[in-house]
């Protein structure tokens, strides 16, 4: 949080000035690598392969299989730009991806509300309850009870989520259709949104710390290390 305030004071003039600060945080290679990730995170450039693989990042940084260096790079970038961007590493899919923060007004136009509800449902199942996957039939039962052509509505919203890389099909031996949250999906809901949402569900005000603890948002890789700031 201290970090954020520091950023805020510095960038009141122009939000994207954060990017101009990068060179003071990063080496030349790191900067270039970050720019490459930024470019390749685009869903349009490569259809279903967002971001760069860890190996590619390490190659560009000139480090090799160095756990510490790699995570240091991610946390350094995130410290510099955390107000506007977020660099995350998806271990399952081996991708380093940049997420950009969209403000509340803009966010309404990004995803249909049904897609948001579905994502929230899956997010809750897999992050809070720690289910490894969510079944399609299960969602259909939850959401489909009132609407006409529920199946198609659900499917088209899931497709939207898959397109931006928030979900991936979960492959298992059974024939049942199932989905799993990707690292992108895990990081999509902002802390503020989760807090508001949970407040509405509980009909009472809540502390941000409690909300984040509930959604297990502590010590996620590449994010601000709340614990270390407390000590």
């Amino acid at each position: 949080m201290e970090e954020k305030q520091f950023e805020q004071e510095n960038q009141k003039v122009n939000p994207l000035a954060a990017l101009a600060l990068l060179p003071s945080f990063l080496s030349k290679e790191e900067e270039l690598t970050f720019m490459n990730i930024l470019f390749s995170s685009s869903a349009r450039v490569r259809r279903d392969n967002f971001g760069l693989s860890r190996k590619e990042v390490e190659k560009q940084l000139g480090i090799e299989k160095n756990e510490k260096e790699f995570h240091l790079f991610i946390s350094r970038v995130n410290q510099a730009i955390s107000r506007y961007f977020q660099l995350i590493y998806d271990e399952n899919r081996d991708q380093v991806v940049v997420l950009m923060r969209v403000n509340a007004r803009g966010a309404r136009g990004v995803l249909p509300k049904e897609a948001m509800a579905i994502l929230m449902y899956i997010f809750y199942e897999q992050e809070v309850l720690q289910h490894p996957y969510t079944l399609f039939s299960q969602m259909l039962e939850a959401f489909g009870h009132e609407s006409f052509q529920a199946n198609r509505k659900l499917q088209s919203n899931i497709d939207i989520l898959m397109k931006i890389g928030a979900l991936e099909p979960f492959s298992s031996n059974s024939t049942e259709e199932a989905y799993r949250l990707t690292a992108i999906g895990k990081h999509m809901f902002s802390d503020s949104f989760l807090r508001r949402f949970t407040e509405f569900t509980q009909s009472t005000q809540l502390n941000m710390e409690d909300v984040l603890k509930f959604y297990k948002r502590y010590n996620l890789e590449g994010r601000l290390d709340y614990d270390s700031l407390e000590t």
Binding site: K4, M35, L38, F39, S41, S42, A43, R44, V45, F50, Q86, V97, V98, L99, M100, R101, V102, N103, A104, R105, G106, A107, R108, V110, L111, K113, E114, M116, A117, M120, Y121, Y124, V128, L129, A142, F143, E146, S147, G165, H187, M188, F189, S190, S192, F193, R195, R196, T198, E199, F200, T201, Q202, S203, T204, Q205, L206, N207, D210, V211, F214
Partner: protein
Amino acid sequence: MAEMDGKLISIFKESTTSSELHEAMRDIVKLAGVLKDMSDEDYFQSPVKLLKVLRVLNILQEDALGLSKLEMENDKALYYRYRNIYGEDEEMTFDDVKHLIYVLGKYNWIMKTPSGIKMRSLGKRLLDLLIRLANDSLAYYLHDDITRSLFQAKRDAELSEAYDDKGISGGNKLASMIRNVEEAVHLLKDRELEYLANRHALTQVQLINSLMEDLEVKMSERIRAFETFEDSLALANLFQQGIYTISEGIKISLGTINKIVKFTNLQHTEQSNSIRPELIRTYIIKTFNNPYDEDPDPHQILSFMEQDQYQDEAMDGIWMPVKFAAPLTAEDILGGIDYIENYEPAVNEIVEMPFVEYQEPDELSDEEIAAKMEETQWKMTKENIPTEHIERYLATAGGQAQLDDLLIEVGEGKWGDVLQSLLGVAAMVSNQRAEFDKEIKRSTKLENDKDWEWMEDDPHGRKAVRTRKPKS
């Protein structure tokens, strides 16, 4: 008249030969005649000028109704009365008044006699119409766009009351009312998120809601009045739609109010530190399909966040994978410019020139193939049986050697090595790399230091081994 034929009076139902209809139409022509004079660009640019004309007309009307004490003698008196009420005005000079009186006289709105200016009944009716029109418009524009449609719908209901009930058609007021309500509800749906994002929207939404509720009463009243009417069958669908729309509008506006109230109440609750998970699931499911109750869906929550009650929550909406355009390097740009500048369009049709390259096939005779096969076979044998040392020995011995010499020299007198060498010689002979021959003269003396013997009188040991070129 309404009782006579039980039908509404409507111009669209009158015969075109009716003289009353002709008079009615002529009234409108007279209205248009006066209005035409006020339709040039000056009036459009400064609409207040038109107001001033209406003021003059209003003075004339008051006079005609006997509201003023003095008789209106002539246009001069009119001008002074205007100046008395509204003050000196550059835009309404004496000449303007004179012109106006002339135009009004031309279209029979007023009557000019030596004793004074009198407004005729035509003038009174048309002026009433103009003033009502202007006041209606003013009331319309005083509302914001959602309440505007609602206001119009209410007005439709009232006009329908004022006209249709009295036997004079007010036009398709009922349909118009339903249409206006639909428009308002549609707008309300679009705007709901904006209202949620606005901290001070509650009063406005409440206003909309009360307008809707008023209207619902009015609408059902009107519809009931029409149900006995002979045309009502054709309108049945429209009524259905109207009732549905207004009830939806009430539900939405009420839902919006409830959401705002819930959000406001939330601000006053104690901070709790326990979260009950099952409430989250039921909430997600509940808001998925239900836009009307007090629980906001994700988009509506984002709208509330726009109010920025918690620090920075307005900018903390959602995280998205970013989409950036591919960067253009200097080379790309140079290449592009070069392409544009030096591009030569293809003038002629492109003729394809087939280019075929012939290659001599590799050819081998049967013997060659056999030799190759043998070669590979030999190589495979050599893999299993070591023969190099024997070949080496034969080479140093000049291409041939006595078998027992060879075995002894190569094997250094050891029994196992001799056996192996014998195997090697056998392999070479069977693959035609060597051949046995008659005994030759010994080149060296046989050393006797060996741990084996030839069998008694065995002739094999005395054979010679000679290298041989495999036939090719």
